[in-house]
Symmetry: C2
Subunit: 216 residues, 2 copies
């Protein structure tokens, strides 16, 4: 990107991460942690492959992303955020929160990846029963599932299936998002096309206080 050439913290930030696709690339790396080029490509529907390659180089040069070359046991290079990159998380969260009000019902021709639900999930879920045994919820909306684990007071969200999920949730994206975030009660989510199998307590345990409020 062309620099704004302004002595201003915001302008400096935008010199580095203001380019098209950059924040979405960082979103992917925040959600997935270290991953391959092709994982990024899949999580960024619409990006041209040359553009992704170029952006990754810029981000590496800027010290936001680190590229680990493929060595012995690993077949392909891996990308991950540096500390500086991870420190963008609060800003990205703030933006996502602002954008969430622009998120209406899902019109089927928008791209959707299940793991994107990790962002609202990390923001709004917590383990409300730290002393009970760990439980896992698997969420399926797109191709690859997402697993959410409540264990010892913390919530772990990561892409990929859960080994032995205590509950499984699936349905249309906007219903799942609203349900996880606590804007929609389970009954209404089911009425809206969601399916929940397994122990209902798993979902309740993850939700701070939103469920009782929204259940009305």
């Amino acid at each position: 990107m062309r620099s704004y050439g302004q002595y201003c913290a915001l302008a400096k930030a935008l010199d580095v991460v203001g380019d098209r696709w950059i924040l979405l690339i960082i979103r992917e790396l925040l959600i997935r942690g270290r991953c391959r080029y092709v994982d990024l490509l899949n999580g960024l529907p619409g990006i041209a492959t040359n553009l992704l390659a170029g952006r990754l180089k810029e981000l590496e040069a800027a010290g936001v992303v680190r590229r680990e070359a493929a060595t012995a046991p690993v077949a392909t290079p891996l990308y991950e955020l540096t500390d500086r990159g991870r420190s963008l998380e609060p800003a990205i969260r703030a933006f996502a929160q602002w954008g969430s009000q622009l998120l209406g019902a899902w019109n089927g021709d928008e791209a959707f990846c299940n793991h994107w639900l990790a962002m609202p999930a990390r923001l709004h879920l917590s383990d409300t029963a730290p002393d009970e045994r760990p439980v896992t919820l698997e969420v399926r909306a797109g191709a690859e599932p997402l697993s959410i684990e409540a264990t010892g007071g913390t919530v772990q969200v990561r892409p990929g299936p859960a080994k032995a999920p205590d509950a499984v949730l699936s349905g249309p994206p906007h219903i799942l998002a609203a349900l996880l975030v606590g804007r929609l009660a389970l009954a209404k989510a089911v009425a809206g096309g969601a399916t929940y199998t397994g122990d209902p307590a798993v979902l309740r345990r993850l939700q701070p206080e939103a469920v009782p409020a929204a259940a009305a």
Copy 2:
């Protein structure tokens, strides 16, 4: 901007404010409040006038900016943020904070406007003596001065001169920024080229606890 076409809150936010120059336009409106087209143009060195005009239209269409047409007493149309626009402030602050670590010494060929100091000032200053009478500090680094007022526990920062400043601060941008933010003690700032006239207590009153720490 071309939409990312992704059902994701962050992508939706970027569909609206991800375009080049947009966040800087919003920065200007956050600092200045309601203002004229030329004010924006002056506060955004490097922007092309057609681009500013186009962005303002997009932002108006998106409900982020409101344009008030010139009526009776006012000679020219004015622009200001809507509530939705103002609600971007936390996200912009978060980004600016991230960018501040990229802000080194001021190399003279970067553009600088004095009123940009309002962002770090609002973030880091507070009125530490709410019960004393209001005091005003005037900051001069660029063309137009900035006035910072501590009154009754709150700090007001706005572009423009102060009526009767209790103190006046001037000097090179990076020195003033570091001083205001508390990263630099007054003595060191003066050694670095800053000038401070008036009551030293004014500056101390504005700074939470940073000065004692950084004074060492």
